[in-house]
């Protein structure tokens, strides 16, 4: 039962944090709270028995993403324009509400939280749990699935992160080609520069 309590409290924290993020107009504060949000969700993952995910979420969401956002902020401006609601805001609210309600409706037929008989736990997953330690010889089933059963996904994942690195280098880096270090990189092409 304690687990449920922790889940509830963490989820409440998460909701409070998310609402605060929307309301804050100081972007540094918003980003910091996002860091908290990430850390909280990582804790939640841990409570929900997903240590690998918690590990990654903490390192990536609370760590890298937050640091990057802060860096970006230092390169951009620090606070959001405080304008009255812009055009089309009610429509957006409706879109969000409809999406949310649709999703909530969709959960009505979901197996309950933690239900051990859910199809998700009874079709493919059991074999991972039963076979992977024997077939792969690794205790951590997540690693087994990640690197072997679904190794191709992970190759794709590495490609994604590679793509991101490539993209950021192309967007912001001064040089990319080893052969043309001296040539101007992106900066010259950034268009009219102002600010800094």
């Amino acid at each position: 039962m304690i687990e449920h309590l922790l889940v509830v409290v963490l989820l409440a924290f998460l909701a409070a944090t998310a609402i605060a993020v929307i309301r804050l107009s100081n972007l540094y504060a918003a980003v910091m709270l996002f860091g908290i949000y990430s850390l909280l969700s990582a804790s939640l993952f841990l409570v929900m028995d997903a240590p690998d995910v918690a590990f990654t979420e903490a390192a990536v969401g609370a760590g890298i993403a937050t640091v990057l956002m802060l860096t970006t902020l230092s390169l951009a401006s620090d606070r959001e324009n405080e304008k009255p609601l812009r055009r089309g805001q009610p429509l957006k609210l409706v879109v969000v509400a409809v999406t949310g309600l649709a999703l909530a409706w969709g959960t009505l037929d979901l197996p309950g939280y933690g239900d051990p008989d859910a199809p998700a736990h009874s079709h493919v997953a059991p074999r991972y749990i039963e076979d992977s330690p024997r077939a792969i010889g690794i205790d951590n089933m997540v690693t087994s699935i990640l690197a072997s059963y679904r190794g191709f996904d992970t190759l794709g994942e590495v490609a994604v992160i590679f793509t991101a690195g490539l993209g950021v280098m192309l967007l912001l880096g001064r040089t990319i080609s080893s052969g043309s270090r001296s040539k101007s990189g992106g900066r010259k092409h950034g268009g009219s520069k102002s600010g800094d």
């Binding site: 590990f55 640091v67 860096t71 390169l75 690794i138 190794g151 992970t154 992160i161």
Partner: protein
């Protein structure tokens, strides 16, 4: 807004932070290696290790300035590492094909399929780690490098 130059930042080169960082960074790197190679038995793996290793470098950059970090890990090297990691991963897969198996069928790599799985996972995790570390550091240094320019 001249705040963003290196020397003026109240964080860079602050003695207390420098000392702490000097103690912590090797520890973090060691920890990253642990996560990398202990991922089979506890949470963690190449990706997490990569991020932690990257974090160590980022911390170094934060405290000692990005130039020093860039000197320690020059962009060219990082590019090679990033590409190398991805190629290592794919190469393991291709090696499996070359040995007569399917793509990424590690079991084929050694006599004993379980050993093969072990070896394959180890190698691809190293690949993941390499790419993730170098991409993380690259991204950070590129962002931070933008600040000083």
């Amino acid at each position: 807004m001249g705040e963003s130059t290196v020397g003026a930042s109240p964080v860079t080169n602050q003695p207390v932070l420098r000392v702490t960082a000097k103690v912590l960074i090797p520890l973090i790197m060691l920890f990253a290696l642990y996560v990398q190679f202990h991922g089979d038995f506890s949470p963690g793996g190449g990706f997490q290790a990569g991020v932690i290793f990257g974090s160590a470098v980022i911390l170094y950059g934060l405290v000692f300035g990005e130039q020093r970090a860039a000197r320690a890990l020059p962009p060219g090297l990082l590019r090679w590492l990033a590409c190398g990691g991805l190629l290592l991963y794919g190469g393991v897969g291709l090696a499996c094909i070359a040995s007569g198996g399917a793509f990424l069928e590690y079991g084929i790599l050694t006599e004993n399929p379980v050993d093969g799985q072990h070896l394959g996972i180890l190698l691809v995790e190293v690949g993941v780690g390499l790419t993730v570390t170098s991409v993380m550091v690259t991204i950070f240094s590129v962002f931070a490098g933008r600040r000083q320019a």
